[in-house]
Amino acid sequence: MDTQNPINSEPGILNLSHAQVFVYMLLAVVTILFLFLTNAYVFRMNFEDWQPLPMPSLLWANTCSLVVASIGMGWATRGVNNNNQASLKTGLLIGGFFALLFLTGQFWAWQQLIAYGYLVAQNPANTFFYLITALHGLHISGGVVAWIVITKKSWRTDGTQPSLSQVSLLATYWHYLLLIWVMMFGLFLST
């Protein structure tokens, strides 16, 4: 992911690396995806049959997990920046663990809602909740795959440690998915 420009090339746009352009564009596409979901949500909620569902309080704890995961990734970035292996590894572990905790928590929140009888097809508000949380969870899962690759790399002893740009891009992805979750959670709470 960390391809550099060859010597005989035009400089990259805004001095960004290939991987940065790729990930930033990916985040733009992810934003558009959730924007369309939000549009559809707002369009559909104006119909008569819309009945908001109560938000399980577990979602607050899940949000905190994702915040801690994001902080962990920030810590890992600082670690690789300061050439501090311990910070890098600890930060990555915190980032990954709390992201997985978030996913588990979201799944648990689904179980709670199902137990209370808020089934997916019962009302469009329910369906949107399950759909949006599932798509957000899938994006987190994709990030976890990248996290596994980079974390494995950071444990290697053959000198092929992850680069600053790899770790910082992973952290950017984490922060961004936190932002999207906060927006989506806000949407659920406000409607």
């Binding site: 090339s9 290939h18 352009v21 990916l26 369009f43 008569e48 997916v120 759909l131 798509l135």
Partner: protein
């Protein structure tokens, strides 16, 4: 995967073995070929389906096997295959992959592995789509727009079976493939240009592919969301799009949803999709016209900004596909206005192409014939678009053959003409051999005249009020008998045009094996893909050293130069 720091600090992938070279290749040229072959194969299927439809319309009842259900399945699959799996994939996956690194002086795409993955995921989407032909109730027959509620209900072919599901899943998979490819194209264009290749020195075809990719990345998520939500409605019986429905006096489990919401999501993707196809066609035409008329392109900067304007405005015209869905008149007025405004940058491009031809040294090569045919066809298709862009004219014409004639001229025949022109032009670069000129001209004239004989009469049939989508026109008093004769004529023309495409296929295969050897730059083009060390270009494209760019890509007839073209990598002091 073996990585080595081979060239000037750039990491390069080097394939090992036959599988690495030709199957799971990460070389953009092989991936382009893979995209092209798969897209053409599924495109041939799409063409076959259209001929089945034409047989029913021209000779109703001749084939017992074509019933109303089959007919709608053919219509649906033909539309979706041609728009998404042929044209989008071929223009961006095929031409985009081949041309971007070569024209920009790069060794490969920015992320070759993701590029390879993009092709294989696309291939998977084609497999899933094709699988729907083999499930018990067959593929979906909902029409290519897949409008709910009918698309997922019993009674619509494939609606209660796996057909519609396979279509929706295939679309979602295609979008994932496109996103991987698209992110790669954007990154490569922004990051991997040879020294001197400023953005405003890029060939117009690269600008077009670049902007079409942007459109795709921003528009496809709308279809993705629509497809996922429709899948939910179909599988989980949710009601995103499904209103209350009564069947046989009993109410179904659905209720409260909005079919119009799906239409908005679909067309927010659907209209930019027109330009995702049209922009690469514009780009190919720009390259071909300049090269085969031996004259620099007229108004390069204006062309680029017109493209940017088209790309931007294409996001605010989508509801002109929905005038008959019921719309506030003021909203209709807004979308009619934006639709007419987008004609302005489009017209700028057409004028610039015509002005490029003005007093040019026009070579009547096969690619040039396709360019001229494109100009006329796009103009005619565009003009009928002015009719349909206006609400009051669109409402009576919307469900008639006038629309079929219009969109086939503007977004089927026109892009295909550009596509064929591009294939003839770049075939020597890919294979090192020339396509047979005589066969090329025969194929061109049959295709060009034939498509006019097919689609021109449809405008007239549309004015008569003949509804599109109908399986049979026989039992309606308001449809005159002459329509049946005209439909027979159209069908015979369609069969001839369809059969003539095999001339092209034969020409491809025969020329690739036995064709006349091409020189390194047979058309005398200025762009970088013709300036490689080897022809066809080898792995890594440029040997040991990347090219350096000194000029724009259209230096034809430069004063003081003896040759009538100066390639982009020739410095001023070396011009003789």
């Amino acid at each position: 995967m073996e990585q080595s720091a081979a060239y000037e600090g750039q990491q390069m992938y080097h394939p090992k073995g036959w599988w690495g070279h030709y199957v799971f290749s990460q070389d953009h040229k092989i991936i382009a070929l893979q995209y092209t072959c798969v897209a053409l194969a599924i495109g041939l299927t799409g063409m076959f389906l259209s001929l089945m439809m034409r047989m029913q319309l021209g000779f109703p009842g001749l084939f017992d096997s074509i019933d109303a259900g089959n007919y709608y399945q053919d219509v649906t699959m033909h539309g979706m295959i041609m728009v998404i799996y042929l044209l989008t994939a071929l223009f961006l996956g095929g031409f985009g992959n081949y041309l971007i690194p070569l024209m920009l002086g790069s060794r490969d795409m920015a992320f070759p592995f993701v590029n390879m993955l993009s092709f294989w995921v696309y291939f998977l989407s084609v497999i899933i789509l094709s699988a729907s032909f083999f499930v018990p109730s067959g593929p979906t027959g909902a029409g290519w727009t897949l409008y709910p509620p009918q698309s997922i209900l019993e009674g619509t072919p494939g609606g209660d079976g796996a057909g519609i599901l396979l279509m929706l899943i295939s679309l979602a998979v295609f979008i994932i493939a496109f996103t991987m490819g698209g992110l790669n194209y954007i990154t490569t264009v922004l990051q991997s240009r040879a020294r001197g290749m400023k953005m405003m020195r890029m060939p117009l075809v690269i600008w077009c592919i670049f902007l079409a990719t942007f459109l795709g990345l921003l528009a496809f998520p709308a279809l993705f969301v629509g497809a996922i939500m429709l899948t939910f409605d179909r599988v989980l019986e949710t009601s995103f799009f499904m209103p209350e429905i009564f069947k046989g006096g009993e109410v179904l489990d659905y209720g409260g949803g909005s079919p119009v919401l799906f239409q908005h999501l679909f067309w927010f993707f659907g209209h930019p999709e027109v330009y995702i196809i049209a922009l690469p066609a514009f780009g190919i035409i720009s390259e071909l016209i300049s090269c085969h008329a031996r004259k620099n392109i007229f108004g390069y900067n204006m062309m680029v900004w017109a493209l940017v304007a088209i790309a931007g405005i294409s996001f605010i015209v989508w509801a002109h596909h929905m005038y008959v869905a019921g719309m506030n008149p003021y909203l209709g007025f807004f979308f009619a206005t934006t639709t007419l405004i987008i004609a302005v940058p489009t017209a700028i491009k057409v004028y610039n192409w015509v002005l490029t031809l003005w007093h040019a040294n026009i070579k009547m090569t096969v690619p040039m014939l396709y360019c001229l045919a494109f100009l006329i066809t796009f103009l005619i298709g565009g003009l009928t678009g002015l009719f349909l862009g206006n609400v009051s004219v669109d409402v009576p014409l919307s469900d008639t053959y006038f629309v079929v004639g219009h969109f086939h001229m503007v977004m089927a025949v026109s892009p295909v003409l550009a596509l064929y022109g591009g294939l003839y032009h770049w075939f020597p670069s890919v294979t090192g051999r020339m396509l047979d000129d005589r066969l090329g001209k025969i194929h061109f004239w049959i295709t060009f005249i034939g498509t006019y004989l097919i689609y021109f009469p449809m405008h007239y049939i549309g004015f008569l009020g003949v509804p599109r989508r109908y399986y049979s026109n026989q039992q309606y008093d308001f449809i005159p008998d002459s329509v049946a004769d005209l439909n027979q004529f159209i069908t015979i023309c369609a069969l001839i045009v369809g059969a003539s495409q095999f001339i092209l296929l034969y020409n491809f295969v025969n020329s690739a094996i036995r064709g006349k050897k091409a020189s390194k730059n047979p058309w005398g083009a200025c762009t970088l893909e013709w300036q490689t060390l080897e022809s066809p270009p080898g792995h890594g494209n440029w040997g040991d050293q990347l090219p350096v760019v000194y000029r724009w890509p259209y230096d034809y007839g430069l004063p003081g130069a003896t040759a009538d073209f100066v390639p982009q990598n020739v410095p001023d002091e070396q011009i003789t």
